[in-house]
């Protein structure tokens, strides 16, 4: 990247870092933190999704990330600093168990979606079935320390969390960029079009798909753990299961699947939508957000398949040309 290309990113980053020191409304900061954490989760999903590997199992990875971290802390007193890597490893192992047979035996397209859907379901079932440990569908709270505590990764003030979430979000974009610039992107684009032809160009199809799946699962589990540490409350509905997986797909498609900032735009829209419904209609609107997501998803796939950001950029480009 040249300086001219990188300058707007640096300027934007500086503005975002400076924001909480100028503006500290706790509610708005809370919304921003949620947007950043979910943007990172959606970016993680898009790592695979952009190459045609549509997974509905990412709720499972996120759930593993959140629950393993919290369970290790509560039951064994393991600090999240160690618990998060363990949780990420667990999610990676799960990704390997599901991904390897799928890729080795060429389960693609709709069939791959169905297998990953089952993964979401299984993780959800395991969490609810082991309710003596996980709290089941009522949710789970990591034990609190008093005040902010670095070792426990618990912080009282929103500014710290905002900066952590911002860093993680930026890390997601860096990973996107890194994948984008690698030869693996070429291989994955080729695989998404024609696996046989990619193999005939010397690409190890199974290995390439497995690699991006592991990256994606590790990132998603990290997002789950981070969400758990920030909210200090997790339930199967918010970090695991099929609805979370669907929410990822929806947000990314709305934002724009093929652009690094697409998932972020998707997160902004979905979280603002959920908040507006919650504030505007209160408890009467519980579950409405999912209904609205569903309708919007259909409309977007038909009319704006590249998402908001993708369509906007495309329009700007054609205007500049003419």
């Amino acid at each position: 990247m040249t300086l001219r290309q990188i300058a707007p990113w640096i300027a934007g980053m500086i503005a975002l870092i400076a924001l909480p020191f100028v503006y500290r409304d706790p509610y708005h900061l809370h919304i921003l933190i949620l947007i950043l954490i979910w943007s990172f989760a959606y970016t993680s999903w898009s790592m695979m999704g952009r190459f045609g590997l549509v997974s509905l199992g990412h709720g499972g990875f996120m759930g593993v990330g959140a629950y393993v971290t919290a369970l290790l802390w509560n039951h064994l007193g393991v600090s999240p600093w160690l618990g998060i890597p363990v949780a990420m490893t667990a999610a990676a192992a799960l990704a390997l168990i599901v991904g390897y047979p799928c890729f080795r035996f060429r389960i693609t397209g709709h069939y791959f979606v169905l297998v990953t859907l089952a993964l979401s379901g299984i993780v959800l079932q395991v969490i609810t079935a082991t309710r003596d440990y996980t709290g089941g569908s009522l949710g789970y709270t990591p034990d609190r320390t008093k005040g902010s505590h670095l070792l426990a990764l618990q912080f009282d003030d929103k500014v710290t969390w905002y900066l952590i979430a911002l860093g993680v979000w930026a890390l997601g974009l860096v990973i996107w960029r890194w994948v984008d610039a690698s030869m693996d992107r070429y291989a994955l684009e080729a695989i998404s079009e024609d696996e046989d032809a990619a193999a005939a160009a010397g690409v190890n199809v199974t290995k390439e798909k497995l690699k991006i799946t592991l990256i994606s699962a590790l990132m998603t589990a990290f997002a789950g753990a981070l969400y758990c540490q920030y909210q200090m409350f997790i339930s199967p509905d918010t970090v695991s299961g099929i609805s979370v997986s669907l929410q990822m797909v929806f947000a990314v498609i709305v934002g724009g699947l093929y652009m690094s900032l697409g998932p972020t735009i998707g997160a902004i829209i979905t979280i603002l939508l959920a908040e507006i419904l919650r504030i505007g209609f209160g408890t009467r609107a519980v579950g409405w957000d999912n209904l609205v997501y569903g309708v919007l998803l259909v409309l977007f796939i038909i009319f704006l398949p590249k998402g908001i950001l993708g369509s906007l950029v495309e329009r700007l480009r054609t205007q500049r040309k003419s």
Binding site: Y186, S192, E193, D196, A197, A199, A200, G202, V203
Partner: protein
Amino acid sequence: MLVVEGLVKRFGGFKAVNNVSFKVDQGEILGLIGPNGSGKSTIFNMLSGTFPPTSGSMTFDGAEISGLPPHRIINRGIGRTFQIPRPFHRLTMFENVALAGYFGQCRHSRAKADEAAERALAMVGLPADRSMSVDGLGAAGLKKLELAKALATGPKLLLADESLGGLDDTEMEQAADMLRKIRDELGITIIWVEHIMGVLMRVVDRVMVLDHGEKISEGLPSEVSSDPRVIEVYLGTDADATQAAAAQARRPGAAHA
């Protein structure tokens, strides 16, 4: 260089390839012909690792290759083109070839992969313009791209699958000369599967004829095209075509046999 022995491929109860044995020597161009469904593409798919043979052995440079996955076979030096070109539309033309260069031979070095791509594109006569999309290419261009992708993987043996379908006469001649040039200049051994017999006969050193999965004839182009079994199964009743092909094969300076 390549020794195939007792190759069999069964799909359910159907024997697509039945006990085929042949050899390919370093530096030759072997033509592989036969009517539709005679097993040519099945043999290609086994040689390139798309699926393993039911039984039989394939040794390349002294090592067994049957059962290896496609990318391993390519890394050993067997490149292939597809009957119908299969470009990657989401990549530029240059990226298509650079991908093959990178994963086919020069892993870990992008610069070398780009060099391999430039050489391959120059060889087939396509521009090394990095921004050109594959969507603008016509039938002939796509065939060239397909060939460039295969060459970029750095093959010792090239499996060229019916590379002339859909071309006009001039383009066909040019493409045939291209294969000859690839062999002469790069020293790449070639197995060429083709429907259009006349052009093939002019360029190849030896021909092998398949019918219903079995090898029915093998030899110099002039011998094969006058073999009565070949005339019967491959050319059917069209005796004129046979004679034309035979005449072309005998044309002075055409077949160097």
